[in-house]
Amino acid sequence: MTITAAPQAPPDRGLRYFARQQTPWSWVTLGVGILALMALFVGAGAILTAYGWTQKCPPGSKAAECTTTTPLVEGLLSPELGALAVAVIGVGAVAAVLALLRSRSVPNKQAREAAIAGAVIGIQAAVLAGVLLWFRGSNVEVFARNFLDVRLLREFFPRFVSGAKNTLILSVLGAALGFFLGLVLALFTLSKRAVIRAPARLYINFFRGTPLIWQLSFAGLGVVTALRLGFFSGTGGPYKVAIAVLGLNLAAYSAEVYRAGIQSLERGQIEAARSLGLSYLQSMRFVIVPQAIRRVIPPLTNEFVILIKDTSLVIVLGLAFFQKELLGVGRDIYNSTFNATAWLGSAAGYLIITLPMIRLVTYLERRLRSGLTSVVG
């Protein structure tokens, strides 16, 4: 008996291999499921676009005479859309039945997975179509007028952009302050001296233990005026208070993240540094902190995403018109138009900012987990 020692390439298990394992039955099941979902999205999009999403109304016209969302309502209630939804439910059900019919005689794992995927996609399409039918039975006109008025978003687009700009300024400056102060606090909480640890713990527990909205109100409405802090008064005052409080609050949370990062390093790192004659502070600065920061970049980015959303709480401070952030802009527009589509504009703004950050966290976590110690340089 001989042993083949020469290494061999792994067997091809790519998409092409997956396709070769399919049977006619599994192809049809997968195809029908995908067809149901595509038909729903493409068909509904085409029908709504054909009817139109919005229309122009002469200025000053009353709701009874002209509503900008009338074409959309007509599209949503059209018989075409109803027929499409019923058809999609039917096609989706076919995919599910096809998968069930032959599930016992499936030849291999790949064919079974494709058939199951087809059935699941078909059921998802059917459920969505069902929701659409139910929605058509509700008060579509009122809903569309209040929540789906695209014209409103277009009209107030510059305001939303300005709001997004302020949201970004508040969160970036708050993060700069918070991430720096947080590191200092973390080092304090790791001191061997109780007199240094205690105040840092007190600070962290206070800011983690009270609501941010309380901290903002208390600072903005009470502390600043009572202490006659000139820097925080005037038109720019509330804006500066917002950045300061957001930063002070983030410092408490990020301090805990830094502390966990520092404590996750092996004891041997500081022992090696100290045995080379580096002082405690030098060891921290050149050996411990640089490594800890690399480890906590993903959780700190996560804290940053939370901060972006928390900037909405500065709404309690009463910022000037040009200082309003996304939620404030949304509320202003709602208050002047009584149309809730404004809130959706705010939500879209937050998502455009936060989704890339959330992706970044996932990417950084994967990169750190793969064990590349030299990731950042």
Partner: protein, 244 residues
């Protein structure tokens, strides 16, 4: 005999209620290769770490080059630059290159200029046979190579005493020798060394003095060959019979 480099005087150490070092008195002289052996938990690593005060003794005094390290007025960081230490787990700084590991203390503690520090690092890397790894990251090296970098890092400070804490225990068997060879050459060059080890061959061939510890106390002390051939104490006998 000349003045001792290290003098441990009446050292006692407790971890909580655990008495890990019991009345240890020890002088270490220039050019000695002192080997500490003993069962795990016998306190040999703690004793070694007491020499550069990584462990502070609960009682007793530590002298280094005539200076009392346990005196709070002593500049401990300055004293530590004259004692190199190598660890079981290497403890290289993973965020710095091989050269960066060596130059850190040269620049920040000895205040060498960048170029001078780099030259000294390259020279030390040459001595441990790793000149070609100067730009590598620690994670790209084998365990044996990492440990040799750790030795080079300690030697670059030009210490008068080297402390080795079970430096081959974390290595794969085939990598042990390259590290022992570096240590052996260092001993032949006259470096004063204190070595905690389980490598009995190294202890016998390279050591100039052997100390057997058990339960925090020095049980037996003397010439390595003599002790290996003819241990005087019962506990030494039973320990050696198990490891040889």
């Amino acid at each position: 005999m000349s003045e001792p480099i290290v003098r441990l005087q009446g050292i006692n150490k407790w971890f909580g209620k655990l008495h890990v070092l019991r009345d240890v008195n020890l002088d270490i002289y220039p050019r000695e290769v002192l080997v500490l052996i003993g069962p795990s938990g016998s306190g040999k690593s703690t004793l070694l770490r007491t020499i550069n005060l990584l462990e502070e003794p609960t009682e007793g005094k530590v002298f280094f080059e005539g200076q009392e390290l346990t005196d709070i007025h002593t500049d401990l960081n300055a004293a530590r630059t004259r004692m190199g230490m190598v660890f079981q787990q290497f403890n290289l700084f993973p965020h710095r290159t091989v050269t960066g590991n060596i130059t850190l203390a040269l620049q920040k503690v000895l205040k060498l200029r960048a170029e001078a520090a780099r030259q000294r690092a390259l020279q030390q890397l040459g001595h441990v046979g790793l000149a070609d790894k100067a730009g590598a990251w620690p994670s790209q090296l084998s365990g044996g190579q990492q440990q040799r970098v750790a030795i080079a890092r300690a030697l670059a400070m030009e210490p008068v005493l080297m402390l080795f804490d079970e430096v081959t225990s974390a290595l794969d068997p085939e990598l042990v020798n390259e590290v022992l060879l570096v240590m052996q050459r260092l001993a032949s060059e006259g470096m004063t060394m204190v070595v905690v080890t389980h490598e009995m061959g190294f202890a016998r061939e390279v050591g100039t003095r052997l100390i057997f510890m058990d339960q925090g106390a020095i049980i037996e002390e003397g010439d390595p060959r003599a002790i290996f051939a003819n241990p005087q104490q019962e506990r030494t006998k039973s320990f050696l019979s198990q490891v040889l």
